[in-house]
Amino acid sequence: MTALLFRDVRLAFRAGGGATLALAFFASVAALVPLGIGPDLKLLARIAGGVLWISAALAALLSLDRLFQSDFEDGSLDLIALSPQSLEAASAAKIAAHWLTTGLPLTALSPLLGLLFGLPPNGYLALVLSLLIGTPAISAIGAVGASLTLSIRRGGLILPLVVLPLLSPAVIFGAGAVIASLDGLSNGALGLLAAFSLVSVILAPFACAAGVRLNLAG
């Protein structure tokens, strides 16, 4: 399945791939918020975790709608479905490729954007850790939505409606972990986030495979 993983990573960085676009979107949304709120450093520091988490989820969604759709439209998905590997394994590879090209770069960029919010030094570790642990859940849950909407022409508009409500636990625990670390509390948000992420990543490939089979029969 590494063949599919490498291909998707390669495609994400070639012309027309979504990786750099998602990163630029993340940076611009996160940079706009301090401009809109004004120079209230105390307020900005409190909302940094939440805003960065929401921006990351939206940025990841940008490239998610094409996750299965482009392969469906050009017929590659038929060939992938007939390959010796299972559709479950193929879905897992696609989720991993999406996280490597979106979730991981977003996480790496987040401390820089934290600076824009005047995030105190004790918030950075929680911010980076929560995104590192939580973004796989965004890729996994988003992939399930992508597999269900892959044959819909304007699926990119429906996908957020399907996926965003399911991402609310990740946003609550992720942003909560940042707030807790600012207050010097230990509230277990990171643990809950890890549990949520783990369950999503394990279950999503099966749901994706079912969604793809359903659409190939359509």
């Binding site: 063949a3 599919l4 490498f6 050009d74 017929g75 590659s76 038929d78 060939l79 007939l82």
Partner: protein, 209 residues
């Protein structure tokens, strides 16, 4: 090239799309080493039949039996693992080069065949390092043919393989079909064009009773 003996038997097959029956009471058997050409007007269900044989669509009624080797019936869920698919969409990534596209599928299908040699066979050695978006429609078809050859599957399903191909390209398709069938493998080809290899014909009328 598939080397296994294969045969495909279809019993009382029916295809319903929406509330319209495309075909029903379809019986045929493709013996080892034979090719079946499926003809019929647009919308008569040629592509649906191929997608059914590949296992993407479930038949409304009837059954499909694939036998590999002397008499080993393949489970319906495993049928796809024996199918070499050539759809009317090329399944190629425009951003990747011809060679990258082919190598990816060789890896995906765990094929030991040499991608470079297959490209040369398809007449694409000079285009190997071009991104596929710069290839012509005929060259893309040739690349898809090279991929089918690499798949090393005993059952080939081809949907309009001759579209966009030049005379030499059509010869190439007929030659590869002849070579494929010579090993005891089978092929089902949906096409509007005359085909010069020995084959049985199945005509879908597009108007079932």
């Amino acid at each position: 090239m598939g080397t296994a003996l294969a045969s495909l038997e279809v019993t009382d097959l029916a295809c319903v799309r929406g509330d319209r029956a495309l075909f029903r009471n379809l019986f045929f058997k493709v013996e080892p080493g034979r090719a079946l050409v499926v003809e019929g007007p647009n919308g008569s269900g040629k592509t649906s039949l191929l997608r059914m044989l590949a296992g993407f669509l479930s038949p409304a009624t009837g059954s499909i039996a694939l036998r590999i080797g002397p008499d080993q019936v393949v489970d319906a869920e495993d049928r796809g693992k024996h199918i070499g698919w050539f759809g009317h969409q090329d399944g190629l990534k425009p951003q990747l080069t011809a060679k990258e596209n082919l190598s990816f599928f060789a890896q995906l299908y765990s094929s030991n065949a040499d991608a470079g040699a297959t490209l040369e066979w398809a007449g694409l050695s000079r285009a190997a390092d071009f991104p596929v978006q710069y290839l012509s429609a005929g060259q893309k078809k040739r690349l898809a043919l090279a991929r089918l050859k690499l798949s090393e599957r005993p059952v080939w399903l081809l949907d309009e393989p001759f579209a966009a191909l030049d005379v030499a390209g059509k010869k190439l398709v007929e030659q590869m079909l002849a070579d494929h069938c010579a090993t005891g493998s089978v092929a089902v080809v949906a096409t509007h064009e005359a085909i010069s290899i020995p084959s049985a014909k199945l005509a879908l009328s597009g108007a079932p009773r």
